[in-house]
């Protein structure tokens, strides 16, 4: 369970968000509405007044590296000077305190779980966008985060790489507490149960994702639905099970 009450006056952000165990929440809203700022506050990159509770533990004063919170951004941000295995071993060493050899062995199993163990010896520069993002996901999950933050994780990928990554994300988010920032209604439906719409730093809608995207109430959600006519004719349940 995560409970966030935060205000960042310099970015005119004022939000209250609760995420239950195993619940996935999509953050929607126009550019500059405060979606990424909200993630930065939760991750501990940006100080805010208010409070952050994760499993009843107060985290608001804790530095980022002491928060059991994982992060996957639009860019994979793999450390360019480490190979793929070194990247995935990184959180195993520093978050979970494994020895170097043990960390590398565990990292290899982690890579195998994502079907990318053949990439272990490669440098990030030698990976395709989709491969790099999958390694980044494997690395984030290796830290065993209680809460996973996704900041437009599919936005920078080639169209051809999106379906596979979306499937990997769906598997990763299953049963996990997560917050995903996205511009894509399909991702909101497939990766999240609930959708929160932010406008000008305030929450204007907070309902099940299907409701927000089939019967929108906020200006932004209405515009989003108008841009995606397929929502009106799609059988959303069938869609979910097909992509599962």
């Amino acid at each position: 369970m995560m409970e966030l009450t935060a205000s960042v006056p310099s970015r005119s952000l004022e939000v209250e968000i609760a995420v239950a165990d195993g619940e996935r929440v999509a953050l929607l809203g126009p550019n500059g509405a405060g979606k990424s700022t909200t993630l930065d506050v939760i991750a501990g990159f940006l100080p805010a007044s208010g409070s952050l509770l994760l499993d009843e533990v107060a985290l608001d004063g804790a530095p980022a590296h002491r928060r059991p919170i994982g992060l996957l951004a639009q860019q994979p941000l793999l450390f360019p000077h480490l190979d793929v295995l070194g990247n995935v071993a990184f959180p195993l060493e520093h978050r979970r305190g494994l020895g170097r050899r043990e960390a590398r062995r565990t990292a290899l199993t982690q890579l195998a779980d994502f079907g990318v163990e053949h990439l272990a010896g490669r440098r990030p520069a030698q990976l395709s966008g989709g491969q790099a993002q999958r390694v980044a996901l494997a690395r984030a999950l290796a830290a065993e985060p209680r809460l996973l933050l996704l900041d437009e994780p599919l936005a920078a990928l080639d169209v051809t790489a999106v379906p596979e990554m979306r499937r990997a994300l769906r598997a990763a988010m299953h049963g996990r507490m997560g917050v995903v920032v996205t511009h894509d209604p399909l991702d909101a439906l497939l990766l999240a149960d609930r959708a929160i719409v932010l406008e000008h730093g305030r929450i204007v809608e907070d309902r099940p994702a299907v409701d927000v995207l089939t019967a929108p109430r906020s200006d932004f959600a209405r515009a989003l639905v108008a841009q995606s006519p397929w929502l009106a004719v799609a059988d959303l349940d069938a869609l979910r099970s097909r992509l599962a």
Partner: protein, 260 residues
Amino acid sequence: MSLAAGLPRWLLIPAALGAAIVLVPIAGLLGRVPWARLPELLTTEASLDALVLSVGTAGVSTLLCLLLGVPLALVLARSAFRGLALLRAIVLLPLVLPPVVGGLALLAAFGRNGLLGETLELAGIRLAFTSVAVVLAQVFVSLPFLVLSLEGALRLGHRRYEQVAASLGASPSVTLRRVTLPLVLPAVGAAAVLAFARALGEFGATLTFAGSYQGTTRTLPLEIYLQREVDPDAAIALSLLLVVVAVAGVLLTTVRRASR
């Protein structure tokens, strides 16, 4: 292959003149090198003393510049407070200050009657006119080179990598060691070569603050200046040595940059 693509042709004239200002004097120097006497001139006792002292002090200075300059560059690059611009300007002052003035400032600080000199004297430490003074003078003039070139590299969006490292459980110290420093390592190497070259060529501040004693404070540039009066051939031979070292240093850094 293209020469000045998309630029007006006349630009080549001032550009060529600019290159000539550097190339012609170096060519002139090379034309004067007494190649036959070179081994003999470079191996006199005075030359060898100067060479050993120069390489030793410049090496120690570069090490000190790294130990102090890397943290300084990091703090300057990652801070935002009132007076930061002023602090940066003061740290970079030796870049534009005549080295003689730097030497005088060092004397005023560490000399016998200087700001810290009296305290040091009480502790039995005399810095002025020792090899330590040579190192201090070199650090004074070359530190800004290192800080300036490194701060630029540190400002290139590595922040996101550091945030990811933190989200993966790395403390600030671990992040510095395993992410930030490896990312800027090429820039640190280039900055260290620059600082070494600048320290090796240091003249004004060294002469003023450390004097010119053979084997203790008379580095290569000072020896060259002295030999110019006595044996111009020896001065040219030693100059060639400094040119070779400088060219090697510049090539080392620019070639690495180009290959990236």
